[in-house]
Symmetry: C2
Subunit: 155 residues, 2 copies
């Protein structure tokens, strides 16, 4: 691919991803339970899917500083949607765990979200959908790898 084509492709990507992100966030926010913000729902879903997790891990996954996570976790904890569980051995670390109410809320939200996304899936054939998601996952993997590489260089 020549530079010209490359540049156009990237422009198209930036445009499309901006549109998709903004519109989908807006639609998604409408489905959110009153108790949750979008970021809080992401945190809660991550805890639900990944079991015991620390603030540091969340910070890595969310690509933000630990103080951001403290803020989010404190709000969720105030609302009794997650618990802080201290590690027995290493008393510096505290694990985070969704409460049953927290879990209930994310499952409710997820099912609404699934319903929403199904509508848009209908614009694509099965092959298109699977092809798309495969490439998207490869992009995600490449981005995760890049991070790991740059960390091992530092360390």
């Amino acid at each position: 691919m020549d530079t010209e084509q490359l540049s156009k492709l990237i422009d198209r990507y930036l445009e499309a991803s901006f549109t998709v992100n903004r519109r989908l966030s807006a639609l998604t926010r409408d489905l959110l339970p009153d108790e949750l913000t979008l970021d809080q729902s992401f945190a809660l879903r991550y805890l639900r899917e990944n079991g015991c997790t620390t603030s540091s891990e969340l910070a890595e996954v969310f690509c933000v500083g630990k103080s951001s996570i403290t803020a989010i976790v404190t709000r969720l904890s105030d609302k009794k949607l997650i618990e802080r569980v201290p590690d027995e051995k290493d008393r510096r670390v505290t694990y985070l765990k969704a409460t049953s109410e927290g879990e209930r809320l994310t499952r409710q939200f997820d099912s609404r979200l699934e319903e929403l996304l199904c509508q848009y899936l209908s614009h694509f054939t099965d092959d298109e959908a699977f092809g798309f998601i495969e490439l998207y996952e490869r992009l995600a993997a490449a981005l995760v790898q890049a991070r790991e590489r740059s960390e091992s260089e530092e360390g």
Copy 2:
């Protein structure tokens, strides 16, 4: 596609898009000129690409309220990166326009961004990249249409 498959596909999409968005935003923020935030750079790019634009239009495109746009525009204006140009005929509307400095900054940023994204593009064949972007654009278009449809129902 049966419900089970559908549900898994959507989970995979949510996971991949979360990862891509978070990681790419983080990498992108590192490339940002000191004068700009990410959202400000998006606004400025939109103005650069779309010529004279109003706050209302920006609010639509960004899927936020007009008061958010006022805030962003005021900050950009304080930094002399955009100008407010009053409409001669309808004195309620003011057009927004990137200053030459504003334009310079976004172009600089865009070229850094292009460099970054090129690295990740190398993980894909040309056909894969074009196929991906085509589907992504169709998704974006579907989301825009959905909005327009729901607006015409209201109006």
